[in-house]
Amino acid sequence: MDKLRKNIKIIFVIFCGLFISLIVYMSYFTAYERDRLIQSSYNRRLWEQEDKVLRGTIYDAKGRPLADTVVEGNIKKRVYPGGEAFGPLIGYSDRRFGRAGLEDALNSELLGVAEKDPMVLLRQKILGVSDRGSGVYLTIDSQLQGTAYRLFRGRRGALVAMDPSTGALLAVVSSPGYDAENLSNKWEGLLDNPDKPLINRATQGLYPPGSAFKIITLAAALTSHPEIEKKTYYTPGYVKINGRIIRDYEHLRPGDYDLRAAFRYSCNTVFIQIGQEVGPDNLFSMAEAFGFNAKLDTDIPIATSTMPKPPALGGEVELAEDSIGQGKILATPLQMARVASVIASGGKLATPYIVQKVVSPLGFEKSYNVQMPREVLDKTVADKVKALMVDVVKNGTGRPAGINGITVAGKTGSAENPHGKTHAWFVGFAPAENPKIAVAAVVENAGSGGANAGPIVKQVILQYITGLKK
C-alpha cells in the first residue's frame, strides 16, 4: 500500500506538470503569439472591426492624403487620390480581394488595433473617438512620386528615391501602376495583365544590377588594393574565362584604361581583371557590407537582394560575372538606392523607412524607430568612388543625367537578362558636394542605362533639388 501511495503521488506530480504546462503555454500564447493572430488577414474579427471603424488616412510628407475613407450616407468608401502612381506602393484594402501594399503593412495602425495601452483605449472610448483608426504620415513626396511615375510613360520599371543621410524614402515608384479605386471593375484585367501592375517592382522586383554593381567592385578594390588606383589595364574588347567570352559594350575602343576611364566608360573586361585581383571573398564581403543578403527589418516588406557565396574551389566564371553585376546577383531598385546612399553619405549604410509618424485619434504622435545609419565603408574610399561617379555623369556613360548647376554623381548599368534587351539602370545622387537625394531607376528591357534610365533620374533629382531651394 505504501508503494501504491508513493506511485499515486508520482502520478499527481505528473498531473501538476501537465496543468502547469497548460497555463504556461496560455500565458506564452497571450503574451507573444497574440498580436500576429489578431492581425492575420484570415481573422474574421478584423473585418468586423473594419466595419465598425473609420479606417485611418495615409498622408504624404506634406500632409496630402494618399488613401482616405469617405462616408457617403452609410457606405464607407476607400479613395486613393494619388491614382496610378501610388497603386503598387499604397496597395488596397478590400473585403473581397484582401489587402496589399502599405494598406496591408500598416493595417493595424490604420484600424487602431495596434494601440495596446488599456488606459489610452479607455480614454478614446470616453472621448468618442474609439471608432477611428490612426492617421499615418509617410516620408513620400507625392509630387516627386507623380513626376517619376509619368517619366516611365507606362514602360515596365521602378524607381526609388531616398534621403541618403537618413534612409527616408522620398519616392517608391513601380510602373505600370494601377488605380486602387473600384477594384472590382478591373481586378481580372490587373491579374491577367502580362506587365503585372499589382507587383511593387521597387521593393519586390529582383533584377541583375549589371554595371551599376561596379560601384561595389570599385569600393572593394579601393579598400583591399589601394594601389589599383594608379594601374592601367589593357583590353582587347573581350575576355575569355574558362571558355566563356564576355565582351565590352559595342562602342568601347580596345586599348589601355586606368581605373577612372574604365569606370567612366563601364569597361567590363577591366573590371573583370580588377575583380580577379580583389578576389571573391573581398567582393562578397563588400557586397554584404552594402546590404546584400541581409533581411531588412523595416516598416514595409522588402525582398532581400542576394549575392551567392563564392564557391571554395574554381568559380572563375562566377567571379568574372559578379565583378560586373551579372551572373546570379539580384538586387531590388531599393537596394541599389541604398548602394548610392552609402557613397553619398561618405560610407554610411542607411536603413530605409517610409513611416514618418502615426497620429492617433487623440492627437498623440508616435514616431517609428529609425535605425541610425552605420558606417560600412571608409570615408576616403567613399569619396574616391564619389569623385569617379561624378566623372561618369560629366564625361562618361552617365551624361544623359547631367544637370546644369547641380553636380550629379552616378553609374549606369545595362543588365543582360533572359527576357530580351538589357535592363536599363541608373544609380546616382546629387548634389555631390552635399547629397540630398539618392536615386536608383531601372527600366526593363529598354536598352542602355544612360540613355533610358538616366533622363528619368535627372528629372527626379532636378525637381527635388529645386523644390528644396524654394
Partner: protein
C-alpha cells in the same frame, strides 16, 4: 474544524450562485429589448445546485462536498456560455445537469455500499467490450468518429460509461500489486483500445491506453512495463501518422495550421483567433464571436470561454479543474484498500487526462483530438458520466469515512 470547513463550502456555494446571477443579468441586459429570460436560467440553476447540495449533505454522510461544489461551478460557467451561444442548448443542458446531480447522489450511495462486493474483473471487461462494440455494430457517425448510438431522439456515446467499467476492470485485475500474466493483460487492453481505434475515436483510444499504463505503474511499480507501454504508445503514434490519413491530417494541422487555413487548419485556427482576441482580460461576456468557432458548444467551448473571459478566466478555470483532480488524488490516497485506491486513481486519471487533452488541443499545445470538456461541453452523456465518475470518487471516500467512524 468541520464547522470552519462547512462555512468555507457555504461561502463558495454562495459565490457560485452570485457569479451566476451577475452573468445572467449581463446576458439579460444584452438582449434587446430587455428580457428577464436569462435570469430564470440563473434561478433554475441555483435552485438545482442548492437542492443538490443539501441533498448530498443530508444523504451522503462522510462525503467530499468540494466535488459537488467545484463541478457545479464549472457547469455553471458552461451554462453561461451555452446560453450566450444558443439558448435552446442551454435549456437541454440544464436538464442534463439536474439528471447529473441525481446520478451523482445515486452513484455515491451505490458505490459506498457495493464497493466491498468483489466482482470478477472480467465482468467489467465484458461490459466494456460490449459497450465499445455497440457503436461499431449499430452506431452513427458524428464528427468523423463512429462512436455514437442513436436511441429515439437521444444519441449517446457508449465510450463514456466504458471509461468507468474499464477502470474498474483494471483496478480489480491489479489490486494484488502484480501482473500475473502480462501477455494476457496487454491483449485485453489492446482489444479495448483497438475497438476505439476502429470507431476512429483516437482521442478516446489514447485516454484509455494512458489510463491503463498509469494504473499498471501505480499498482506494480514496474518501471520496465511502464516504459515499454509508453514506448509502444509512441510507436503506435508514429505508425499511425504514416498509415492513417486522418492521423496525419490532425498532426499536420497541429504543426502548421497556416498551410491550409480554409481546410485542415480551419478548426484550430478559428480557436486560436478566439483565444488571441480574448487576451489577458477577455472581450467580456457577450462581446466576443463564439459563432466563428466550429463545434463551440462541445469540443471548443474552452476557446469560446477564453475569448470572453480572457487568459485570467481560462487560467482560473484550468485551476478549478486541477482542484478536482487534486481531490480525486486525495481520495485515492485515503483509501485503505488497493482496489478502492486504484479505482479512484483510474477515474481521476481518465478525468484529468481528458481535460488536458482537450484544453491542450484547442490551445495547440498538443494535436487536437475530439474529446469533450467535462461539465462544460454541451451533451448529456458527457455530463452524466462526469457526474457518475465524481459520484464513484465520492462513494469511495464515504466508505473510507464510514469505516473510520465504525472503527
Amino acid at each position: 474544524m468541520e464547522l470552519k470547513m462547512e462555512a468555507i463550502y457555504n461561502k463558495t456555494l454562495s459565490a457560485t450562485a452570485l457569479i451566476g446571477f451577475i452573468a445572467f443579468t449581463l446576458l439579460s441586459m444584452k438582449t434587446s429589448p430587455f428580457s428577464p429570460e436569462p435570469l430564470y436560467g440563473a434561478i433554475t440553476f441555483s435552485a438545482i445546485m442548492l437542492m443538490g447540495y443539501f441533498l448530498t449533505n443530508y444523504l451522503l454522510s462522510g462525503q467530499d462536498p468540494a466535488l459537488f461544489i467545484l463541478s457545479s461551478f464549472i457547469t455553471q460557467l458552461g451554462l453561461i456560455m451555452l446560453y450566450r451561444i444558443n439558448p435552446a442548448a442551454f435549456s437541454k443542458q440544464i436538464n442534463w445537469y439536474a439528471i447529473g446531480v441525481l446520478t451523482f447522489i445515486l452513484s455515491s450511495a451505490v458505490v459506498r455500499y457495493c464497493i466491498k462486493i468483489r466482482i470478477n474483473p472480467y465482468f467489467f471487461l465484458a461490459v466494456t467490450v460490449m459497450l465499445l462494440a455497440m457503436p461499431l455494430l449499430f452506431g452513427v457517425e458524428k464528427g468523423g468518429s463512429r462512436s455514437w448510438i442513436q436511441l429515439a431522439n437521444y444519441s449517446f456515446q457508449p465510450s463514456e460509461p466504458a471509461k468507468v467499467t474499464f477502470v474498474l476492470y483494471l483496478a480489480g485485475k491489479l489490486k494484488h500489486g502484480k501482473v500475473e500474466n502480462l501477455l494476457r493483460l496487454s491483449a485485453e487492453i489492446l482489444v479495448v483500445v483497438g475497438l476505439l481505434t476502429l470507431a476512429k475515436d483516437l482521442g478516446g483510444a489514447m485516454l484509455f491506453y494512458l489510463a491503463a499504463v498509469a494504473l499498471v505503474f501505480a499498482a506494480t511499480s514496474r518501471i520496465d512495463i511502464t516504459a515499454a507501454g509508453l514506448a509502444a504508445a509512441g510507436i503506435a503514434a508514429v505508425s499511425g501518422y504514416y498509415f492513417f490519413a486522418h492521423v496525419r491530417i490532425r498532426v499536420e494541422a497541429w504543426l502548421n495550421p497556416w498551410q491550409d487555413v480554409p481546410g485542415r487548419g480551419y478548426q484550430i485556427v478559428q480557436s486560436l483567433f478566439a483565444i488571441a482576441q480574448g487576451g489577458f482580460f477577455g472581450t467580456g461576456l457577450g462581446m466576443g464571436h463564439p459563432e466563428y468557432i466550429p463545434a463551440v458548444t462541445t469540443d471548443f467551448i474552452f476557446s469560446g470561454f477564453s475569448e470572453e473571459f480572457g487568459f485570467l478566466g481560462a487560467a482560473a478555470l484550468t485551476v478549478v479543474y486541477f482542484l478536482l483532480v487534486y481531490r480525486g488524488i486525495k481520495i485515492s490516497l485515503s483509501a485503505k484498500e488497493s482496489f478502492s485506491a486504484l479505482a479512484a486513481l483510474g477515474i481521476t486519471t481518465m478525468f484529468g487526462l481528458q481535460i488536458f487533452t482537450i484544453i491542450g488541443g484547442v490551445i495547440k499545445l498538443i494535436p487536437l483530438t475530439g474529446v469533450t470538456l467535462p461539465f462544460m461541453s454541451y451533451g448529456g452523456s458527457s455530463m452524466i458520466m462526469s457526474f457518475i465518475s465524481l459520484g464513484i470518487l465520492n462513494g469511495i471516500r464515504q466508505s473510507e469515512r464510514g469505516e473510520e467512524a465504525d472503527g
